[in-house]
Symmetry: C2
Subunit: 406 residues, 2 copies
């Protein structure tokens, strides 16, 4: 089927400069798609430190199992990342596990390094084993044309139902040395990340040790990738890697500014994912304040963001805040009808257990015609707060997903 | 908007005979709808024992708060049930609470009995206070034409987005005495009952004490109303009442057969609700076996039944079992990819962590064209089992809910 681009597609892909320590190539391996790239190989300098988080789904794919182990495998020579789109190689049995091994071995042979440490990710249809030979057949030729300037091509090669490639870049200062961080991501449906999102790769020339990278990822995933949801469905392939080549040779100094830049990239990429949510016509921000804890606020915000009735009301430009009340109440977290306050944009809809006296239906109607809709829900119980980003539920979501495999 | 009848609508409303101890009337009160009834009053003999379960939503409506208390209120004279459709009288502040009191007082005045013990339920739009005078204005005239033969009319009066009225009747034997049970229900969207469903009223002429009725309701709600889901959204108005007039004067004997008949009615009504799920084109049965416990099986079955990606795949007649794997895995309950077995109807799709060797895509394609789709998921871990019933997610669901209030 033809995809209509998301109305939130950026005008252009941002500039992602080459990063010292990282070379890459893409290719048309023909896994499933025709006439487009579907394979990306990233070769990182031997010094590169890698941290990662993976899906919490209990039925992960063979590539996720492999890559979890590969994070701590002994590695000599360059570190490799291999990503294909078209098949997720999930629930594909021994054939799928064999394909992962074959891919890793083929990559190490063509690009150098240790097969056991190759990071592999596959995204696409579940239940179809990867035909590894389609990838390995490309590796020799790809190794001949590695480039540092391939981030946009990489972002395109890993797309599935995405309607635009997703990338972000920032610079940061570590102890007087300037470092750069690039990130790319893909994801559009089956998005309710639990510790990670579909696929996201963030690379930097900074010198930061692996444990610190892992800690930073853990801290920053919550307010970024774990705070977006398209359809409440958690992928079996979610992978987020952070790779630091150390080529910038920065001193071992305060990482405050690096953390700031990393947070910005992760937030930016997660926003690009939700803004490309399958079938999106409106972006929805759900802010919850006044909860008994941040965790409780997050559960309530997710409950509102994932409610099909809230999402269809937004698609219909209906300020049907009764459904927000319903979704707050069904979350199971502490909430009191009579201390709730609900705003849409600047308009107070409801407070003290009843519709706000100053609210007029025309206010909501006008506001709901906008493309970006913000609900603010104050529970009036404590200091807990959280924000979750989602999209509306439209006919296009059903069109995309009723015949995804055909 | 015009509602297309569900393809699962029964050919005719079943026969619900008059029950000794129960008289009723319906009226066009004009709460919201025009040209149809929207008010039902049930007058029960003073001897009637009433048990009830209500929504677990943390933001229940004023009628739910009132009716919970009314269950244990001291009552003289006839017991009354008043139900309106059009507004749910939820999140309607003091005006909503006043409307409930006014309705109860008006009903007691017209039909007899104690205001504090009147069971009141409202269903429809949230955030609009009930105009009690629209109801009370009807009561006098309704009291003049009470009938025992009004069950179908009652089932029609309480409908909202329902495309057909829902009723069921059974007989049972208690110690040699024949008793009858009638039930009616409404519900079509915002259906993910938590202890009860939208609105369901079950009446019997049997003599059974209140505590026993309450125990039976509690035991039987799990495998019936709490095992259907349309859209994962839990209503703020869910109410299920069981009323026993005692007019059959059965002895205090074994209730095994009564329990069997009650279970059948509750199952029948809950099936009628899911078969009228908003926008339904296919009925989906999700059977989970081999879980570590029944509770765990229920969570997994709900996760599959509520997955938008599973539901849209069924709407598209796509045997996309990869999404079932995903939904099993995201449930968070113990599950092992390599011990899972998945059937659609009679066809084994996947076992031992891979697609089944004998499965051909044509088998799934042919099966998915049917109207009733059954997924059987064996987790291969223990003896826990549960079944959840749901419907697919179609364009019609979005049509219905994007402009529900207009």
């Amino acid at each position: 089927m033809t995809m209509t681009p998301s109305p939130f597609a950026p005008a252009a892909f941002p500039k992602l400069p080459p990063l010292r320590g990282f070379m890459m190539a893409t290719a048309e391996a023909g896994v499933k798609y025709r006439g487009r790239t579907d394979l990306w190989v990233l070769r990182c300098d031997p010094s590169t430190q890698i941290a990662g988080v993976f899906t919490q789904n209990r039925c992960p794919g063979a590539p996720v199992d492999w890559s979890r182990k590969a994070l701590s495998a002994k590695a000599d020579g360059p570190r490799l990342v291999v990503v294909n789109s078209g098949t997720a190689n999930v629930f594909s049995g021994q054939a799928g596990r064999d394909a992962v091994v074959e891919t890793a071995q083929g990559a190490a042979k063509a690009f150098g390094g240790t097969a056991e440490s190759v990071q592999i990710a596959s995204t696409g249809v579940i239940g179809v084993a990867l035909e590894a030979e389609k990838l390995t057949a490309q590796f020799g030729e790809m190794a001949e044309r590695l480039t540092g300037d391939g981030w946009e091509a990489a972002a395109r090669a890993i797309m599935t139902t995405d309607t635009y490639p997703k990338g972000a870049s920032r610079t940061a200062d570590i102890g007087g040395t300037n470092v750069t961080i690039n990130g790319i991501a893909k994801g559009s449906g089956m998005i309710a990340p639990d510790m990670a999102t579909m696929l996201a790769y963030i690379a930097t020339d900074a010198a930061v040790d692996k444990d610190t990278l892992q800690t930073l990822l853990g801290e920053l995933t919550g307010p970024t990738f774990n705070s977006v949801t398209v359809d409440s469905d958690t992928s079996t392939s979610d992978t987020l890697l952070l790779l630091a080549s150390g080529a910038a040779e920065n001193p071992d100094a305060d990482l405050g500014d690096f953390r700031r830049a990393l947070h910005e990239i992760m937030f930016d990429l997660s926003q690009q994912i939700v803004r490309d949510g399958e079938g999106i016509s409106k972006l929805i921000t759900v802010r919850v304040t006044g909860a008994v804890s941040d965790a409780s606020a997050h559960v309530v915000a997710q409950s509102v963001a994932n409610s099909p009735l809230v999402k269809t009301a937004v698609a219909g430009e209906d300020a049907n805040w009764g459904r927000i009340i319903m979704a707050v109440g069904k979350a199971g977290e502490p909430a009191e009808r009579d201390t709730l306050t609900i705003h849409i944009g600047p308009h107070c809809l409801a407070s003290n257990g009843q519709p706000d006296a100053l609210y007029r239906e025309e206010m909501g109607e006008a506001y709901m015609k906008g493309a970006e809709i913000e609900f603010t829900i104050d529970l009036g119980l404590g200091d807990g707060a959280a924000t979750v980003y989602t999209c509306d539920l439209t006919h296009a979501y059903i069109d995309i997903n009723a015949d995804y495999r055909s």
